[in-house]
């Protein structure tokens, strides 16, 4: 966990302190603010940073640094400094970064591994950087000609008197298609997300420079890859990835869905002698769930297992607060169980492990639709970019039926989203189509949706998220694996399953993917969520925004699927997105940033 915030250019102490207040949940162990001549830097930290202070300064005094989160492999970094004649005793992570930047400049960033967002002040201004995979979020905005703000959470920007939230309509189109916002934009006009593995220069009195990638995934397939040896290496790295995220002491919690990824995370913890308390979500009597598999894993690993029921009556009142904690309307309904389980987890531990990342990193099931699409490419009806947008199975297929012509025009429609994905899907540097899909999924869906939502739902309760499968070294290893080691025939995540098979019951590893089955259709048709959604979406306030065609929304509220839906009824998923979008407006636009 942890967080940073600050101003570049004109700044007032009151602003930085208000920014720290707005994100205080990220700093269970401490916080500090420092006013400099042309910037103000703030930092919040958790128990994983016992040596943290308000700000760290390099030994030559040139670089000052704040850091939210933490670094891995700090011993390696210290050795790196020692080799350059700068022996450094064990220090806080921010101090280490300040020292490295002072010695190596921005080139040092590519050697940083961890879950972090950082700001470093030097003679050129402030350098922002975010960890390679995006475990910790970071945003910035220029509020006036003299001031740029940055923070781990957008809500901190309300601390500045000139900040006003206005919806970014292009991002609204992205939300409807992806359920999140890939790329640098956010739902707030003029507010930018620093993408994973990127850095950006902020100089006083200047607009932010173009962000620069300091870390890039490359396809370097190992021609000598052997299945058994590869699986062994993968298992070792997974174990190490878990170990590097463990707290120095104290209990650990893990979210356990019963799928292979979260089960693997628990199994690697157990294999290291850590016995996490595992939390699973249930969605009411009679609703499909994976609790049986979760229980099987818990028994197998001999860990405590608790089930938390999540039903609409338990969370309707929480929805505005959940949206507030998310900043952007991330429309994955799994945020609700994550938020509720995080509240329970916070009573047990300051760290929660999860299994996020297994699918994007190791060739999960969503790739198959694109692969099948390519098989038939010669027969028409297929465009790679559009097919990828549609593969999220959200509102792409009904975008123009759902949205008013005004919104279609203002947002640029779905065509404007193609440029976000085309560079990945057509990347000639990646020979393998599977790797292209993995690359786009890791960068966009992973770093800008999965990791962000997990970070924020847990940080809301003062808990640090640990996503060991979303690890830089694992991502690099995955791009060294031959594609057939990731998808062997029709077996997804082949190598990963081989790696975890010795640790888990066979039925858990080799069963079909079931997805996290939040019963949205049931909730919207047969529970209190139905009335709540009708009230919110049917309100004059919502309809006056002029985004959606009421007849379409009304049809969904009446329990009918989207008109041209061929497959699974996704009416509940669409309603969830519309609800999140409307609540976002109420909280951030109408309510001035208050839940």
């Amino acid at each position: 966990m942890g967080g940073i915030c600050g101003t570049v250019g004109r700044g007032e102490p009151a602003w930085i302190h208000a920014m720290l207040d707005a994100t205080a949940h990220r700093g269970a162990s401490g916080r500090g603010a420092t006013m400099l001549a042309d910037a103000a830097l703030g930092q919040l930290w958790g128990p994983d940073r016992p040596h943290a202070t308000a700000i760290a300064t390099s030994s030559d005094g040139r670089v000052r640094c704040v850091l939210g989160g933490s670094l891995f492999d700090t011993d390696v970094l210290r050795e790196r400094l020692a080799a350059r004649g700068r022996p450094v005793p064990p220090l806080d992570d921010a101090a280490l970064v300040a020292e490295l930047l002072a010695v190596e400049g921005e080139a040092a960033l590519e050697h940083l591994d961890g879950a972090f967002a950082l700001a470093a002040h030097d003679e050129q201004g402030v350098l922002l950087a975010r960890d390679p995979l995006g475990e910790r979020p970071l945003y910035y905005t220029r509020v006036d000609a003299d001031t740029v703000l940055f923070a781990s959470e957008i809500k901190a920007f309300y601390a500045h008197p000139a900040f006003t939230a206005r919806p970014e309509h292009g991002s609204l189109a992205a939300v409807l298609v992806f359920s999140f916002i890939p790329g640098p934009r956010t739902m707030f006009e003029g507010v930018y997300e620093l993408e994973p593995g990127c850095c950006v220069r902020l100089s006083p009195g200047q607009p932010p420079a173009e962000p620069r990638r300091f870390w890039q995934l490359r396809e370097e397939v190992d021609p000598a890859w052997q299945d058994d040896e590869g699986a062994r290496r993968l298992a070792e790295l997974c174990a190490s990835s878990v170990a590097r995220r463990l707290p120095p002491a104290g209990p650990v919690v893990a979210f356990l869905s019963g799928g292979v990824d979260s089960s693997a995370s628990v199994a690697f913890l157990a294999a290291q002698g850590v016995r996490p308390i595992c939390f699973s979500a249930g969605f009411g009597v009679g609703q499909p769930n994976e609790l049986g598999y979760a229980r099987l894993v818990a028994d197998h690993c001999r860990v405590e297992h608790r089930i938390i029921d999540v039903e609409p009556d338990d969370f309707l009142d929480l929805l505005p607060r959940i949206i507030w904690n998310l900043d952007d309307p991330l429309c994955d309904c799994i945020t609700v169980p994550n938020y509720i389980m995080a509240a329970a987890a916070a009573r047990e531990s300051a760290v929660v492990f999860n299994g996020e990342g297994g699918d994007p990193l190791f060739g999960g099931p969503k790739n198959k639709f694109m692969i099948l699409g390519e098989w038939y490419k010669a027969y028409g009806g297929y465009d790679r970019h559009q097919a990828y947008l549609a593969s999220y199975h959200k509102a792409y297929d009904c975008f123009e039926e759902l949205c008013t012509p005004e919104l279609v025009a203002r947002s640029g429609g779905t065509a404007a989203l193609v440029e976000l994905v085309a560079p990945y899907l057509d990347d000639p540097a990646m020979g393998s189509f599977l790797n292209r899909l993995m690359h786009v999924n890791i960068k966009l869906k992973g770093g800008q949706n999965i990791l962000v939502k997990v970070d924020k739902m847990l940080a809301a309760h003062g808990v640090r998220s640990a996503s060991p499968l979303f690890d830089r070294r694992l991502a690099e290893l995955s791009l060294r694996m031959p594609p057939a080691a990731k998808r062997r025939g029709d077996v997804e995540k082949f190598a990963f399953k081989q790696a975890v098979a010795p640790l888990l019951p066979h039925a858990v590893v080799y069963r079909k993917k079931a997805g996290m089955g939040v019963p949205l259709n049931h909730w919207f048709r047969r529970t209190s969520l139905r009335g709540y959604a009708a009230d919110v979406l049917g309100s004059a306030r919502a309809r006056e925004r002029g985004y959606f065609r009421w007849a379409f929304v009304e049809r969904l509220l009446e329990g009918e699927p989207p008109p041209n839906e061929v497959g699974r009824d996704r009416g509940g998923e669409l309603l969830w997105m519309l609800l999140a979008i409307e609540l976002w407006h109420r909280v951030f636009v109408d309510g001035g940033g208050r839940p």
């Binding site: 198959k368 639709f369 097919a387 993917k513 079931a514 997805g515 089955g517």
Partner: protein
């Protein structure tokens, strides 16, 4: 599998069949079968839509001839008015891609290393393309193919995975007719050679035709009993007597939904995210 190429234009169009398709009903039929431009459709989809609207004669006892006449009239219409959007044209479809052709359409090398455990086998290239062009395989993990052999590069992959022992469920979809069930028998016979292939019959039956409100027509021509030999179903006498209902009488949206519901069980659910 019936010939995908348009049937030869009949030497003389029967008097009951109009020489031209009336423009206004055609436009309405196109809008209906394509759900206002959302779906691709076959010529038969269009013909049956016009039949329902009373703008084209019922195919009656000779559906193949009726289709040929309709195709000819439609070609005439398109020659004068321009090509219809989203009309499936199997005569233009490549029978399959050779390795050399794969490279020309920018298909990355690893694409054909993967396999798929679910195949939807259709009795016509038209209906196979109905699924392909409407992206059915991107909503449900399956490979649509027509038996025998279309598209050839997909068939080659599927046969390779059978040879490698990858168990594969083959959902057979066909018309409710003697021809359709004869085709099914041929498919069953062909798959018998492949231990890894499991045939699941989801074709149009007489009870399904009734449930889908499809009229059962008759050719009036009894079928050689040998064609429909083997384990009988209680409606087989109807088919032997020449009764038929065609799958393409369903509108594309209805047809795709029907196949989805009959084939989705057991498919992986990728959840929300």
């Amino acid at each position: 599998m019936s010939d995908a190429r348009p049937s030869a234009i009949p030497a003389a169009i029967p008097a009951a069949i109009p020489a031209a398709i009336p423009a206004a009903p055609l436009a309405a039929a196109v809008a209906a079968v394509s759900s206002d431009g959302a779906f691709w459709y076959t010529r038969r989809n269009l013909m049956y839509e016009l039949c329902r609207a009373g703008a084209w004669p019922d195919p009656g006892p000779d559906p193949e001839r009726a289709h040929a006449c309709f195709a000819a009239a439609l070609a005439e219409h398109e020659a004068g008015h321009g090509p219809l959007d989203r009309l499936i044209r199997p005569e233009h479809a490549s029978p399959g891609l050779s390795p050399a052709e794969l490279a020309t359409v920018d298909l990355p090398a690893d694409l054909f290393d993967y396999s798929v455990r679910r195949v939807v086998v259709l009795d016509r290239i038209d209906t196979c393309l109905l699924l392909v062009n409407n992206g059915f395989h991107r909503k449900l993990e399956c490979a649509p193919v027509a038996f025998p052999g279309f598209p050839s590069h997909v068939w080659a992959m599927i046969e390779a995975q059978w040879a490698a022992g990858v168990s594969t469920t083959c959902f057979a979809v066909h018309d409710c007719s003697a021809t359709g069930y004869a085709w099914l028998a041929g498919l069953r016979e062909a798959l018998r050679r492949h231990e890894a292939a499991e045939l699941v019959h989801v074709g149009l039956s007489v009870p399904w035709a009734f449930r889908l409100r499809l009229p059962l027509r008759s050719t009036g021509q009894p079928v050689d009993p040998a064609v429909l030999s083997g384990p009988g179903r209680d409606f087989m006498p109807l088919l032997r007597a020449g009764s038929y209902a065609e799958f393409e009488e369903l509108r594309p949206l209805q047809a795709l939904r029907w196949i989805y519901r009959r084939t989705a069980r057991g498919a992986e659910d990728v959840g929300f995210g």
